[in-house]
Amino acid sequence: MAKLMTGNEAIARGAFEAGVKIGVGYPGTPSTEILENFARYPGVYAQWSPNEKVALEVGIGASLAGARTLVTMKHVGVNVAADTLLTLSYTGVNAGLVLVSADDPGLHSSQNEQDNRYYGKLAKIPVLEPSDSEEARKFVKLAYELSEEFDTPVILRTTTRIAHTHTLVIEEEPREVSLKPYVKNPQKYVMVPGNARLRHQVVEERRQKLLEYAEITPLNRIEEGTGDVGFITSGISYQYVKEAFPGSPVLKLGLTWPLPEKLILKFAEKVKTIIVVEELEPYIEEHVRALGLKVVGKEIIPRTGELNHYIVQRAVLKYLGEEIADSLENLDLPQRPPVMCPGCPHRPVFYILSELKLTVTGDIGCYTLGVMPPLGAIDTTVCMGAGIGMALGMEKANPDFSGKTVAVIGDSTFLHSGITPLIDMVYNGGKGTILILDNRTTAMTGHQPHPATGKTLMGEPAPQVDFEALARALGVKRVTTVDPFDLQQLRAVITEEVAAGEVSVVVVRRECALLPNQTREPLTVISEKCTGCQRCLKLGCPAIAIKDKKASIDPLLCNGCGVCAQVCKFSAIIKGGDSLG
């Protein structure tokens, strides 16, 4: 019976059906739910690693030891794992290994919208792009066959609209796959130059074989249609083409590295105009053009943001010379950007950083929201772990920064890639202040456990990384712990540490407001005492609004953290009072 599943659920199902025994990754939207779902199937093992590079390396080990293995991450996570990936292409695999790269066109929850199909071209490993959940399930299974047949890792590339869209899936029975024997083979697995030179030739031979396979695989198909205009497309863009031009000929590509040259030429003979519809980069288009074909692509299809059938339809009709009415009217409505939740332990930190007018090198997580007004406290955000190294670079370029710069980084992000830059800061004589915002979870992606939470993805207890002891072991002499809900102490500690003239680590510890038992009695404004100064509004808390020139707290939204009461100079905010509306 058909069942509604997101692409992520379907990938987990497909892996289970393919006999995958090991799943490993690092959380990242839109990939996170793959492993969370996979972990629930019987007879499998799944884990979160501290970062994507480690995850892929654990995956390689599992494959060599003979288990089919699934490795999951978001698009920018593949950058972290890229060093491993590009040489894994040379060694090949033992049991099948599939890497899911979940791309995010439109940047729903990312810092860039890179197109990871280029990793297939760069690493010379097959890239499969499903167009819905059922294809995601089927493609994963086929990916394991390819991985083992061609001795290569395989990338399954999804995008947000595949990963987070529910479509109908037909489940099949899982296949029992026994462990493949491990055979020691240094020529294949030890990439010293002498061996790697030979393996590079193997990679080239594999590329040739994959090219032949690309021509005959059912992953690629021509859908006959009427008219002179034909579309070449892949992934979610295929659905947009089918919606906008249901009767037109389509070359649907499920395997986008390597691309099938003969099939593309055959399709070109059937139509007068070829339009390539793909999100982000002209990846397929460049290839089609290189075959000497005339093709329409990015001159009409946007290269930034995500597509939909409306954008595709309008672009194509306009190109074909039809009149197009003006697009959406400008709505002129107030924006509703994401905000820190009421009771978020990050809010007081950024309130103080903003008050102290410090330069703040930020990082990736919920706390990146500290950039939003009215807090407006963050100066930079690049990628996971970047803030600490950047703070060091700033003070090296201009010593004035050392007395007024802090790097902020979350607990999971610090474990992901904050430790090595902290070592750098200690080793190279930096004087920076690092705030580890330890909310005891990986919050932004939906509360995954990590190595400092004491729990694993399988729900087992685990040792906890001790941030304070770790910092001391790395050579940091000034290590402090502070509760962000104690505003006075928080201000005092940050002021002192920034002025200290040597590296200091402040662990700002308080559970995420969305974890269980983090809701307290809501606060109330005593209207007579409120002067309407609006100081509490500087917290940017969604529970506080101005009504009739006085502050007012929505008891349904208030989490009871009490930070606003500490900010108020007139003691106008108190615990309790008006209970649930």
Partner: protein, 187 residues
């Protein structure tokens, strides 16, 4: 029965559960269904939208300008944001509730007048928050709206009740009470 339904609201309001129930009912009726959600950063109190389409065959999971049959809006400003996605004969079912976004909270922008901005559009303002509260289930706003929508679709009521029961766990009785209240509201 081909329908396009947009669910718009503020992150954390329960749009995703509501969309799951509608999708479940449509799926049981043997229809093709696609539901596109937003996860991650936007869920932190930002504007969220879920696209839900069902029919004989659905290709694109997204709904474009002037293609929605229904807009199920959990908040008035979020309703306004998506009104232009309704077909001319489409209907907006709007929770009569204001959640101020940060630019309004901080006085940088003013909250728009819903009735003024929604002129020329078919809409129903539903006091879902009050109805939910009166059923002792203040989190049941989504169920009230769902009941109101269910009345305007042709699926059997029993199918809705089954789906709510299946997905509400220990809140199933409270959620059904809110659904029933929405179903009969304004009838």
């Amino acid at each position: 029965m081909d329908k396009n339904i947009l669910l718009a609201g503020v992150g954390g309001q329960g749009t995703i559960l509501a969309s799951k129930i509608i999708a479940g009912v449509a799926e049981k009726a043997g229809l093709d269904v696609k539901v596109a959600e937003v996860h991650g950063m936007a869920q932190r109190g930002g504007a969220v939208v879920t696209y839900l389409r069902f029919g004989k065959k659905v290709n694109s999971p997204l709904i474009a300008h002037r293609e929605a049959d229904f807009l199920l809006a959990f908040e008035k400003l979020e309703a306004l944001r998506w009104l232009s996605y309704l077909k001319p004969e489409g209907l907006a079912l709007v929770n009569d509730m204001e959640i101020y976004p940060l630019p309004v909270l901080t006085g940088k922008a003013s909250y728009p007048d819903f009735r003024e901005r929604a002129q020329g559009v078919n809409f129903n303002l539903i006091p879902a928050r009050e109805i939910a509260k009166s059923r002792n289930n203040p989190r049941g706003i989504n169920m009230v709206l769902l009941g109101f929508l269910a009345k305007r679709l042709t699926f059997p009521k029993e199918a809705w009740l089954q789906e709510i029961q299946k997905r509400s766990g220990k809140f199933s009785e409270a959620n059904i009470a809110c659904f029933q209240a929405g179903f009969t509201y304004g009838a």
